[in-house]
Symmetry: C2
Subunit: 228 residues, 2 copies
């Protein structure tokens, strides 16, 4: 369970201060599927960085699985993040000069998993996203949508309990996008993982249990999707 | 007028050869508004790179404004490209450590435009995309959608006659995306520019005059959008 209480995040640049998050309070239960929507620049990615322990809030409280994240030591935070959280970044953040396979294996290397098992799990994740035949290609040798799917495979390879995906279908055509969404749904049903997804695609948001709308760094609304 | 005749593009990687374009023939008239659609990995960005003279075909013919592009010398090609073509890359290709203003001014620097005029035109382009107050911020200090809009401003700053945009609304929410599409429409009406846009958003494709559908590196269909 995630509990964010009155989270503020400001960025200071010279004389200017940008208040990216202006007091966000939101709770997400285990196994829930939540979509975060909102205008460009409203704070969605910043909120995901907080939830994923990739950045620290300026003020406010974050309780993850009963622990106050601000009290954790750096290496405990890194272990918790690497073990439990899979992150699909909006800008992919792939290493463009190494193969897709080595990109996908990276979380496993940090986790101390051996070479043979790493290779097998990387192949399984790449096949799940429709790129089983591209393991030896580098991101610079792939299309935008293919790179995005490598980023998704990397987020899934460690079998996370919490998947954070920042516009995971942004570079995909509707058919490929639907395949990725079906994969996420399957993971939730089979493994009970918690999914938080940022999207500006109304069709994707409609598949979540809840939609949290962000505007100017605040929660504007938090509504349950009715059963179709 | 652009005329591509039987364009083939292959990428050789070790023992493998990827045939990204497998004989594409398409003609685009001045002032036309054409959308290119198709599955992830089908060859859309590769085709845009050919149209924008950013890469050379493996075989086939490309006639741009009556000139055979393959016969042009490199510096003539660079001048023609910089003077007439504005390009919005799928992966933005911004310089992340310099300000948005300097990013947008870059095409003008290559064109030898003086500092004062550069600054004015950069401000005009950034205001047109809704980021007039972000000139001094660097791409690393901006959201994904804001970075995309900087990339759009940079493509427009040189008042190109041909605008090539590879998924220009991919990182934008529907409202911001609609504002960018309205801006493109206005430029077409006021300046008569030719627009070629890659998109996987059906709403965006519907606004073009024609939709060229690509599949496995070939033109699958080329249809006129009926007047609403
Ligand atoms: N530099 C490269 N080296 C090797 N292969 C490449 C390179 N660039 C693209 N490809 C391959 O060429 C094919 C077409 O890629 P392209 O980027 O044109 O696709 P796309 O239609 O734009 O896809 P997307 O919608 O995912 O952006 C893909 O199979 C891709 O892997
Ligand atoms: N490193 C940074 N330094 C300064 N400002 C930042 C930084 N990162 C984000 N911002 C600012 O914080 C605000 C929120 O950005 P964020 O990336 O969270 O938006 P977003 O909702 O994800 O937008 P998009 O839909 O465009 O991706 C924006 O105004 C942005 O310019
Ligand atoms: Mg974002
Ligand atoms: Mg592409």
């Amino acid at each position: 369970m995630l509990e964010l209480k009155n989270i503020v995040k400001t960025y200071v640049m010279g004389h200017e201060t940008v208040r990216a998050l202006d007091g966000v309070t939101v709770t997400i239960k285990d196994g829930e599927y939540v979509a975060i929507v909102g205008p460009s620049g409203s704070g969605k990615s910043t909120l995901m960085n907080m939830i994923g322990c990739l950045d620290v809030p300026t003020s406010g409280e974050y309780i993850l699985n009963g622990q106050d994240v601000s009290k954790l030591r750096d290496d405990d935070l890194a272990t918790a993040r690497n073990k439990h959280i899979g992150f699909v970044f909006q800008r992919f953040n792939l290493l463009s000069r190494i193969t897709a396979q080595r990109n996908v294996e990276l979380p496993l290397r940090y986790g101390g998993i051996g070479g043979k098992e790493r290779a097998e799990r990387a192949k399984e994740a790449m096949t799940a996203v429709g790129l089983g035949d591209r393991l030896t290609h580098k991101p610079v040798e792939m299309s935008g949508g293919q790179q995005q799917r490598v980023a998704i495979a990397r987020a899934l390879v460690n079998h996370p309990t919490l998947l954070l995906a920042d516009e995971p279908t942004g570079a995909l055509d509707s058919k490929t996008g639907a395949e990725i969404m079906a994969l996420f749904k399957k993971l939730r049903e089979e493994r009970g993982i918690t999914i938080v997804i940022v999207t500006h695609d109304p069709g994707v948001a409609a598949q979540a249990d809840r939609v949290v709308r962000i505007k100017d760094g605040r929660v504007e609304s938090d509504t349950l999707n009715s059963e179709e």
